[in-house]
Structures are given as C-alpha cells and as structure tokens.
Symmetry: C2
Subunit: 453 residues, 2 copies
C-alpha cells in the first residue's frame, strides 16, 4: 500500500491505506473497493464525531451561566461572541413585517414556492390511524398530539439560512405546536436578517429571539426571563451548538431532534452519469465547510477521472473555493466492480445525502438501507432538496442514518396509544393478563383485572 500524493494533500487521515489506481494527480483520492480490507473500509466510513474536551467545558460553562443568570448572561454573550451590544433580545412582529418588506419580489416568490412544496410534502405525513380490535372487545389505536413547546435554532453566523427556518417551522406549524420559540444570532446591526423575517411572515411566527450559539440552546432548555423553556430543541449549528444540545439532552428533560455533525454527500454514479453534474453535486456539498465530506462511488474509472477534471474546472469559479477545496481534500472516490458493491459501500457509510446518478436508479432503491435523503437520477441534485423539492434538509449525519430519520412531522408530535376494553373484552382478555402477571410475580397487576371480573 503506497501513499498517493493528493492535489490538496492537507489531509493525510487515510493516507496509510491508500491504494493508488493511477499515478495521475487528481482532486479525489481514489480507492479500489475490491482491494480494501474490512478494516480499511471501516476506517474510510468513520467520521470524526468526537469533539475536544475544551469545547465541552466551554459549553458547560455557558450553559451554567445562562441557567443561573438568565437574560443577563445572554446579553453578555452577544457582546462577547457576536460582537453586538443588544438593547433587546427579541424582535417583535411589527419590526418583522418591516424587515420582510425589504425582500425583493423575485426572492419573495422563491421563498413562497419553497414554502408551498415543503408544506405540501410535510402535510402528507399527517395521518390519522384506524382502530384495531386485537381481541373482541379490545380496541387499540394511536392519536397524534403536537409537542406543545418547541425551540427552533436557525444558524446565522457566516451564512444566514432562511431555508432551515422553513424546514423546521413548517412541520412545527402543521403539527400544531402551541409555542414555537425561534432563536438566531443577531446581525451586526442588532436586528434580524430580512429573509428570516420574511419566513417568519410566511410561517405566522410573531417573534424572533436574537440569541445564537450554545447560549441559545441553554436558554431554550432552562428558560430565562424572556425565553420559555421548551420540550424539544431542533436545528443545526456549529460545534458549540451541537455540543450544547447533547449536554442539555442529558441534564434536563429537553429532547433534541438528533445528534449532528458536518454535512456530507455520497454520489453513486456509473458510466451513464454526466461528469459535470456529479462534480457540481460534490462541490455543492464541499462549499458548506472544510469538514464537509463528498464521496464518489463509481463503477467507472473513466468517470472518476472526468469528475476530477470537472471539479478542478468548476472549483476555480466558486466564491467559496478555499473552503470547498479543503472539503474535497477531506473527501475521496471509491471504484467498485458493480453497482451492488457501490450500494454496499454506501449502506456501510450511511450518508446524510445519497445521490444516485445512473440510468437504472430504480433497481437500486430496494437495496438502499442507510441514508438520510435520496436523490434519484441525473436531474435530481441535492440542492433541490436543500431548498425546495419539499423534503426536509435536517438529516442525520456522521453515520446516524443507520438509526435516525430526518426531521418530519413525526419529529414534532407524540403518537399516544389508546385502548378501550368492553365488558366482553375484559372477559376475553382478563385471564391472559392474570396468568402473565402471576408468572412475573406481580399480584396487584392480576388483581386489577380480577376486581373487574
């Protein structure tokens, strides 16, 4: 096993297991699936989910201060981290309306179309369930109830993300959550970004809190003079936000949507794929951040070469090319002998986003086991789902797609089970319950049936 000199060799994490396929310089380090050992695959698919203890103790301190000092701590952290001296922690509806007016009409229409599609798809997830008579006289069913108080974190450091506001706000509204607390870091002018204001208008959300970072998560988990304590916190964020979510999940009875890590895409492509499309999809992922990962799995060495050339060309034109280049250096390609092996690798990787750029994508659908959201065919870029196809973009990263689903209506409701037993029902079911209670040594359980006999 040799070492392949990558075009951007900042990252040597996987260098020791590289099997070079050709001697050409290329953007994506390339591995041959057939020659990879189990151990090498396991290293390739692993993402760094650890965060340093330094972050952990910094976040613990922030949480403790917000818990004890409330709003005062929030204002202090704004000055310290956001470098804004705030006169208020909340933007009210009249100001939201004013700000929203500054969004130009073309952008308004685009936000509205995204809203419409996301709303339509998420509304279809809201379903009533039938009663099931398990035994004559014994009826069981589930009913949905909204989580009453939810907190939405909308990041807004280097980039402001109105799309995330829509992705969290729409299912919260459809579910019928009674209180929706929205926190986003203040802009330099001490106010809120105009696009977030327009989304608030679309969502009928009357208030946005100017709080960012770990302190926002702490505020929603414990409550302050201004912020209501919520039952569940949603939304992506930087390492501090993510760490704060996992800490409050353990320390309070606040639930979180899912653990989060850097964004990632895996593209499965064969010789029918268009290299320019594939490269564009990998770069769209790469521009998110240097820690993003864009993995190409292909049955065609020729395609991998062409994609590498396209990446090189397209990268030059990107305003965020430094970030994207770092992410590409952190990424790789895997050459497989058939699509089944490509799918196997993908299922082991469990990508947040899976794009299948093959003519025969339909045959692969039943083989997909682990993925957050799947984009099928040559004309379905991930960015469509990031913004406006209708699916949610809050998805499990770092291999959590093995056990977690993305955000949906399900994330904002509880499914409560109900049962009703009639006179006939208790007669039919009672003896079973008595026998089972007795064999577990729980006499009072048996007695609760016996007294009704």
């Amino acid at each position: 096993m040799g070492f392949e000199t990558s075009y951007l060799a900042q990252n040597t994490l996987f260098s020791y297991l590289i099997s070079p396929i050709s001697n050409q310089k290329r953007m994506l380090r390339t591995y041959n699936y057939n020659t990879l050992s189990k151990d090498e695959i396991s290293k390739l698919i692993s993402r760094n989910v650890d965060s340093s203890n330094e972050i952990s103790s910094a976040v613990e301190a922030i949480i403790e201060k917000v818990k004890t000092e409330g709003d005062k701590a929030l204002l202090a952290y704004s000055a310290q981290f956001d470098r804004v001296t705030l006169s208020r922690l909340v933007i009210e509806f009249d100001e939201i309306e004013q700000l929203a007016n500054e969004v130009d009409e073309v952008e308004q229409k685009a936000l509205e179309k995204a809203f419409y599609n996301i709303h339509k798809f998420h509304l279809s997830q809201l379903k009533t369930e039938e009663k099931v008579e398990t035994t004559t006289g014994v009826n069981c069913w589930r009913e949905l109830r909204p989580i009453e108080k939810v907190g939405l974190y909308v990041p807004g450091g280097s980039a402001v993300l109105p799309s995330t506001f829509l992705m969290l706000g729409i299912p919260a509204k459809i579910a019928g959550c009674k209180e929706i607390i929205v926190c986003s870091p203040p802009q330099k002018n001490g106010s809120v970004n105009i696009y977030l204001a327009y989304c608030a208008l679309l969502l009928g959300i009357k208030r946005i809190y100017l709080i960012g970072g770990a302190q926002a998560i702490a505020a929603m988990a414990y409550g302050t003079e201004t912020i209501t304590k919520v039952d569940k916190i949603f939304g992506p964020g930087n390492q501090y936000v993510t760490k704060a979510k996992t800490i409050v999940q353990n320390k309070t009875n606040t639930a979180i949507d899912m653990p989060a890590g850097p964004s990632e895409v895996l593209v499965i492509a064969d010789e029918t794929a268009n290299p320019a499309y594939v490269a564009a999809d990998l770069l769209a992922q790469a521009e998110h951040g240097a820690d993003s990962q864009a993995v190409l799995v292909s049955t065609s060495a020729d395609l991998i070469e062409k994609v590498n050339l396209e990446i090189e060309n397209q990268l030059r034109e990107l305003p965020r090319k430094e970030i994207a280049a770092l992410a590409i250096a952190n990424s790789y390609a895997v050459l497989t002998s058939d699509l089944q092996s490509a799918m196997n690798f993908s299922n082991q990787y469990a990508p947040e986003h899976l794009i299948i750029e093959t003519d025969n994508y339909e045959q692969l659908i039943p083989e997909i086991i682990n993925a957050g959201s799947v984009f099928l065919g040559h004309l379905t870029p991930e960015s469509a789902g990031d913004y406006a196809s209708g699916t949610n973009h809050t998805l499990p990263t770092s291999g959590y797609a093995r056990s977690y689903s993305g955000v949906s209506i399900d994330s904002f409701v509880k499914k409560i089970t109900f049962q009703h037993i009639s006179k006939a029902g208790i007669k039919n079911l009672g003896p079973t319950v008595e026998i089972l209670a007795e064999l577990e040594g729980l006499q009072a359980h048996a007695n609760a049936v016996r007294v009704r006999g």
Copy 2:
C-alpha cells in the same frame, strides 16, 4: 399551609406544600387543585430525574472495562454482580427449545395470546406512503427501512419480564431488523428463564446473551468478541442500565429508545368510578417499586376517601405489600372542581400511563396532550396494556411524555425521504433553487442546478 400526617409518612418531599382537606388519616396525601400555586403544582409534577454522581462514575468504569476487555469483563461482572460463574455468555437455540418446553400449556397459551395481540396492533403501524408531486415533475416520498442491528435489554434481576421481551421483540421482527441481539441477566443456574426462552421461540430469536446491567449496554454499544455492536439499544432497566444508555448515547453513535425513569400512573376518576378498581390500578403501579408513583386526580372528595380505604384493604393481601406501601407513600391525590381541571393537571404531569375512569371518558380524549398510553373507561386497567391488549408497554416516564412517544414500529425503522425530478421538474423548480442558493451565498448549490439547465 400545614403538614398532614400521612399514614405512611416515610416520604416528606412535598410536606411543605400540603393543604389538608380533612383530618382523617389516609393512604394518599391529598391536595386541593384550586388552592395550589403555580409553584406548588410545578413541585408536585416534578420527578427526581437526577441520579447521583456515584452511579455515574461506577457506570463509566463498567463501560470502559467492557470496551477494553470485552468478554473477559462481561464474565467478571457476572461473577461480581449476578453472583454467577458463567461457562458461556450465550444460550443457543437447542437449549432455548429445551427450556421453552418447561413452560406449562396454560402459560404458553397466555404468552401466545399476548404475542398475537401485540403483533396485530404493531403490524397495523407498518404503512407505505404515497408519492407527492409537489411541483409538476418533482416527486417526493418516504420509504421505511429497518434499523439493521438492534439490541434488546430484557431485565431479569428480582423479576424476569417476558412481557418486555415480547414488547421489544415483536416490533423489531415486524420492522425486519436483520440482527436482534437480546441481553438478559443470567439466572442463578447460569441459564435463562424458561418464559424468556418460550418468547424467543415465538419470536424466532435463536440466541439469548446472559448479560445484565450496565455491562450489557456497554457490550451492545461497543461490541465484544461475542456480541455484535448494534445501531440502537432498547429496553428498561435499573438506574445503572438507564445511566449506561444515556452515556453510550453521547459517547458512541448508538441510539437509544428513550431516557427512562421509575414507572408511574395517573388516574382521573369522577364520582362514577368504582373505588375498588381505582385502588387496584394504583396498587398495580405501586408494586413495581418503591420509587413508582401512583397519582389520583378526582372531582370527588368522597371517591378519594373510598379509594384510600380500598387501598388499605387491598394492600394487606399483596405479596409485595412493603414495596407498594412505600410507593403509595411517595404518591398523592389531587381534588379538582371539574374534569377539565383534572385533565389540565394530568397534561402538566405528563404521565407514562393515564387511566380515565369516568362514564364520559370520550369527551376528554381531545383534551389529552401529554401521556404515554391511555386507558379509557372503567373496564380498561393498565395491566391489560402492560401485557396483552396489544399496545406497547415501553413508554416515556418522568415527564418525557411531553416530547417522546412509546416504543412502536417507528422506533425500529428509519423513514428515508426520496425525490425524483424529471426534465420538466428541473425546469419548473430550478430557478427557485438558484435564487435561494444565491441569497444564502451558496454558489455551488446554484451551480448544481444550472449545469442541468
């Protein structure tokens, strides 16, 4: 505010906020909802979710040892905690079959009936979803995929719980999980309980691991020579098991079903309720453990008095009366002026189990917001749902019913979103995606659409 001398005054947690309603000695301390302050209600509904640091560091040490020493640590812990010297960590299918034969026919039939009902209800939760065309040419839908590797923890210290095995094993099987790892503490004879063996037979599960406590959770989260690392861990347990689950949830990429605390019931009853039924339901909860809580909320002072007398009478006959008496001392009654107030209190408490023993229970259903599982009417005891009505008994405790649902098919699957965009679709949706990507400053996202134009 005075102090009420409770019949069993071991527990003085809430003594400072007691408003005595009568001077009679009674089993359940009783509060008048109308005179309780917001702060007093908040104290009444709070459960002690903290566990001591002592437990935490003991569990951390167990996890670390299992992680580094594997099976060797598991065998050592069996000797130390279960006081059994094991010659093997796993019971194979031929032995399971032999043990299952020892279950008598009446018990077999009872387990089968429970199996049938639980299976029928959970199967009804497995649904395919329709495609939604959000924009012409843009189709979105969700498909279910099983979580591949799941770990089921079936407690078996003081009591062995075949019912829990069924409640976890049936949805895992219906979901189609490929590997189902079952851990349960070894019995004194170094083997597995015969009822668990019979359940394994019903479930088609071919192997049971003789591992209990925090070490079982660690083994499933990290894997050992014998145990496969799983994607998600399910099941109740003592404080050590519960603590281990929350620790591995943070330290590894293993998901857990839900955080867990002591079991609890809240009974809403009016003057139409039968005091003997209500008392039996409260005692069925109380016999679980001294830290269980059984709360009665009633519009009738007379009913509360009668329930107290019934508790006193029924308690005497119970084999687990010491435990139940301690739990009753840890419990209380709330008198409200109407059923709406009773429901308000219940929603604030967010009980794991809610029993509504009123003639007009149907009117209350829409008012239920926070509860794990609901039992309707005079003939629907919680113990029916604990064993055999068909609903799941793995439910959110400690107020987690505000944000979590009980275990269901949903707990064993991921819902993966899919999208396909046609030529017409990308034409219709593309401009929207480009505009939104640009306003978020993500040019490569816009480009992924543009190259396809």
